[in-house]
């Protein structure tokens, strides 16, 4: 054993680290689902259909929201609080808009007589529902976190200079953004 004391470099905040591990965990869940998708696709009776066009718009919306959450973090660090509050509100609204667009996508499939659930459903469509739906729940988690921060920014009488919360939410938000882009590419080209 070396006897030289380990001079610890500036360590990452435990909560940030925990978030990174949690994101690894979420990746494993989606990796499990998308591998199941591939396995299933290579078996018999797989229904081929075109993705809803609206998914293209939802992709743009969530990418835009990543930009606004990034700007929000910058505004917070510059102590431009009204700009910060505005930007996290826009981000949350874009998040909700994204979820709305995904639901429109599901409705589009149903309208084209591609059942997502029920006896007539093919697992190709059901997979799309389950994977996309789970991703929507993760976006919803981010929206709730933003709302909590929004309320805190108004209600709290104590000035909080720690940018930890916005950094945590920002990282998570970029993560669900990239996760959706992965799923979008996966649906369209990989599988």
């Amino acid at each position: 054993m070396s006897t030289i004391a380990n001079e610890a470099p500036k360590r990452i905040h435990p909560h940030k680290f925990t978030l990174w591990v949690a994101m690894g965990s979420i990746i494993m869940m989606f990796a499990g689902l998308t591998s199941a998708y591939i396995v299933k696709k290579n078996q018999s009776s797989w229904l081929e259909f075109d993705l809803p066009v609206v998914f293209m718009y939802s992709t743009l919306v969530i990418m835009l929201s990543s930009v606004t959450v990034h700007l929000a973090a910058k505004a917070f660090k510059a102590r431009e609080m009204s700009r910060y509050r505005m930007l996290i509100t826009v981000t949350a609204i874009l998040g909700l808009a994204f979820m709305g667009l995904q639901i429109l996508g599901f409705m589009d499939l149903e309208a084209r007589n591609i059942a997502l659930t029920g006896a007539r459903s093919n697992s190709a469509a059901s997979f799309l529902l389950v994977i996309t739906g789970l991703h929507m729940l993760h976006v919803l988690g981010g929206v709730i976190a933003l709302m909590v921060m929004f309320i805190k920014a108004y209600v709290s009488s104590v000035k909080n200079y720690s940018s930890l919360s916005i950094e945590l939410v920002g990282t998570y938000w970029h993560f669900v953004d990239i996760l959706w882009i992965y799923l979008f590419i996966f649906y369209n080209w990989i599988s």
Partner: protein
Amino acid sequence: MSNEAVLHAPAEAGLHHEAHGDHHHEHHHETFISKYVFSMDHKMIAKQFLITGMVWAVLGGLMSVLFRLQLGYPEASFPWLEDILGKWAEGGKITPDAYYALVTTHGTVLVFFVLTAGLSGTFANFLIPLQIGARDMASPFMNMLSYWFFFAASIVMLSSMFVEFGPFSGGWTAYPPLSALASASPGSGTGMDLWLIAMALFVVSSLLGGLNYIATILNMRTKGMSMTRLPLTIWALFFTAVLGVLSFPVLFSGFILLIFDRNFGTSFYLSDIFINGVGALPNEGGSAILYQHLFWFLGHPEVYIILLPAMGMASEILSVNSRKPIFGYMAMVGSLFAIAILAFLVWAHHMFVTGLNPFLGSVFVLLTLLIAVPSAIKVFNWLTTLWRGNIRFTPGMMFSIGFVSLFISGGLTGIWLGNSALDIHLHDTYFVIAHFHIVMGVASMFGMFAGIYHWFPKMYGRYMNNTLSYLHFWITLAGAYMIFWPMHYQGLAGMPRRYYDYSVWESFKQFAELNRFISTVAMIVFAAQLLFLFNFFYSVFKGRKVTTQNPYGSNTLEWTTPVNPGHGNWVGEIPEVHRWAYDYGKDGKEFISQTTPVGADESSH
């Protein structure tokens, strides 16, 4: 964030500035609720996990005694069974439905609630902050949530035993279609709903716990505690947490698809099914094998989630009580790492007979047999740690040695089962039962007992009774071998698992007396566990008090805390670490605590 900040964060919201963060004497106003119920002290949470795990171990063990009664005495009837089980044992004989429910619940409870939550929940919570030199976990609040999600899972699982058609009864692996169709079997309705809810809560609990363990080990170590100075317990608990965090989400995704098949009519797992009394189902194109892939992708790492904490604790206890450094520290860490990697690459060996491509099967055979290499390294190192040691046969040490014995016996049969050709004959026979009960079930139980006996003085500030402990050890060790050894022969003769009554099969009639023998021993071993329970609870309140800080002459940091450490573990500053945890018998000194600076006259190692 420093240790101090983490400990105070919930109460002070980071606004309170202490000039010296290490002064720790202000009193937290602890009520009964905040100290014993919604506690955020890792030591109390560990005890909560332990006691809940013990309750489940008793229930799960009792279930095995009940179904062993059926297997050992298929013709007999026991009127008292009807008194306790009611309609599940009409006329004093366990019904087939009840038998399957008992087998299923025994498996689920022992694997998840006892040997996952009870084992790593207890010892990860208790040992990580104490042995790395931290005041508490990275997030004490998440830690508390982890326990309460486990508690909620326990309540739901327990309640599933009292619903009209009984708990889920399709095996602990919950394969569809039995688990996917409410009309498939009595337990597949409400029982399975509750099973799924309980398991979902359990996954959340495991993830919250695992995230915390990883973050704590990597970020909260005291000054000087480099990764290579960590005790092996911590390394083992670290890899356990990594396995859990990466594999439980995959099980969760499998469960989500199952929930959709159950409740929303999708066909992920279902195809071409005809149920008697219901008729043909509309589901087309699903694949039940898909569930097996998702399940075993967790299921195999789960085996190591159960086993690794036991390995880590045995390593530590063997070294302390041999008064010798652990042999091959880095090899021990490396083999833990190798096992953690391989754990993710062998899941299909549970599925050799599902019509798996034989070529793919041979790849999984190779990867499976590769696990023998790190396992053999570990066994070699344990034996060489014992070799010419100055051994103290404390109860914890006895159980650690017992663990090594069981790991060898059970591990060797793993080499048989890992062969896809042999597996055609042995699959789903009693040989498999014998293998995994010895290597995973009983061995990990022994690791858990070793941990409890060894760290009991630290947990409760009192000693357990040694005579009862030795009695417990010998009955359990001899009993475990007497129960599971004969099962190898039964399995080789082709006796399948999960059958209700073997006496009606011409081929297995020969085992009637052997089955009775196994059942009898199972009852004796179960009774011996009551000895342990009595010893444990009696000693918590009435045991001999610990008077010295370091009763075992141990190097690790938990023995530098007060005999009854409060929340925050150390009074004053957290000690600094100057050396690894295994300086036993060095330079003529019996042991050198990790907090002792390296002297100028000391030889390097």
